[in-house]
Amino acid sequence: MNWKFAITGVAALCLFVGAGTLLSPASVAQDAKTDTKTLKPAASFQSIANERERSVALFQEAGKVIQHPRCVNCHPATDRPLQGANMHPHQPPVFRGDGGMGLPGMQCTTCHSADNTPVVGQADTIKSIPGNPAWHLAPIEMAWAGKSLAQICQQIKDPARNGGKTMDEIVEHMAHDELVGWGWNPGAGREPVPGTQAEFGELISAWVKSGAACPAS
C-alpha cells in the first residue's frame, strides 16, 4: 500500500475543492450577498422596453423586500407570528387575537414597546426586542408566508385581500407606512430589508404606473 501517494491524492483533492470554493462559488456568493442588501433604482428599469416585462421586473426587485423575513414574519399563514431570519414560530407562543394585537393577557404590548429595545439579558442571540407604535400582525387575508411572489403580487392587487386599498393607496402604504418602515430599522441583531423605504416606494410606484403586472411564478 503506498500511503504516500494516497495522502498526496487526498491533499490534491482538498486543494482542488478548496480552490474551487475560493474562486467561482465565492464570487457568485459575493454578488448574491450584495444583491440582497440593496435595491436597484426604479429608473434603472427604463432600459426594459416592453412595459409588461418592465413591470414584472420592478415587482421582482420589490419582492426582495416583500419576501424578506422582516416582512413575512408578521404576514404569517397561521395565527402565530414567525421570528428570526429562519422564520421559526414566535417564542413565547403568541397568537393573533383581535386586530392582530394578541390574545387577552398576552398582547403584543406585553413585550413590544413603541421602539426597538436593546436588552441587557443573557441571551447572546437576542440583542433587542423589536418595537413600533403600530406593532401588530397583518390580517390573515394578507398572509404571505409560504406563497410565491406571483401569488403575493395577485394578493396585493386584490382589494379583498389588501385591506380594500386602491393601487394608489398601496403605493402610499409601501412608501410611507411607519410599520412597513420598521423593516429598514429593525433593531440590533436583525438584518434590515434591502435598500431604503424611499427606493422601495419608487419601485412600487413604477410597478403600478407600468400596469402592475405580476410574475408568472
Partner: protein
C-alpha cells in the same frame, strides 16, 4: 428624571433612562418579589402590571413609563387578586416558587379581562409564563377555582 406610580405611591428615578423597570423595582425600590428570569421577555418571571396591563419589566426601559402606574406582586389587590391568592394557597400551587409572582400577575390580569376564562383563554394568556417545576396543571386549576369563587 422619570416620575411614575409604584403600588399607588408616586416615585421618581433619576438614573440611566435605559435602566429596565425590573432593575428599578428590585435594586432601587427594594421590592424583590418580581423576579429576573431571562432578561429577554422569554419567561414571564418579571411580569408586572403597567397601566393595568401585564408587562415584562425586564424589557421596559424606565424612560418609557413616565406618568404610568406600575403594580407589582407586593401591591396587587382587588377582587381578582384576592380570589387568586385564595385559590393559589388552596391548591398549594407553587413548587420552588421562583416563577410564581409572574404567574400570579398574569393570572390576575387575565381574570380582570375575562372573569370566567376557558382553558383556551388560560393557555393564551399564560403561554409566556414558564414554570420549570411544571406546575401548569395546578396553575390552570387555580385560575378556574379563582374564577368560580368570584361568581358568587
Amino acid at each position: 428624571m422619570v416620575t411614575f406610580t409604584l403600588n399607588g405611591q408616586e416615585r421618581t428615578f433619576d438614573g440611566d433612562p435605559d435602566t429596565p423597570l425590573l432593575w428599578v423595582i428590585r435594586d432601587f425600590e427594594k421590592l424583590t418579589g418580581t423576579k429576573y428570569g431571562c432578561g429577554v421577555a422569554q419567561c414571564g418571571a418579571c411580569t408586572v402590571h403597567l397601566d393595568g396591563m401585564p408587562r415584562r419589566s425586564c424589557v421596559t426601559p424606565i424612560a418609557t413609563i413616565e406618568g404610568s402606574e406600575v403594580v407589582t406582586i407586593e401591591g396587587v389587590s382587588g377582587t381578582e387578586a384576592d380570589a387568586v391568592k385564595t385559590a393559589w394557597t388552596g391548591l398549594d400551587v407553587p413548587q420552588c416558587g421562583y416563577c410564581q409572582s409572574g404567574q400570579i400577575m398574569s393570572a390576575v390580569a387575565l381574570l380582570q379581562m375575562i372573569p370566567k376564562p376557558t382553558d383556551a383563554d388560560i393557555d393564551g394568556a399564560m403561554a409566556g409564563n414558564i414554570c420549570r417545576c411544571a406546575t401548569y396543571h395546578r396553575i390552570r386549576a387555580a385560575i378556574h377555582n379563582a374564577a368560580s369563587s368570584m361568581e358568587g
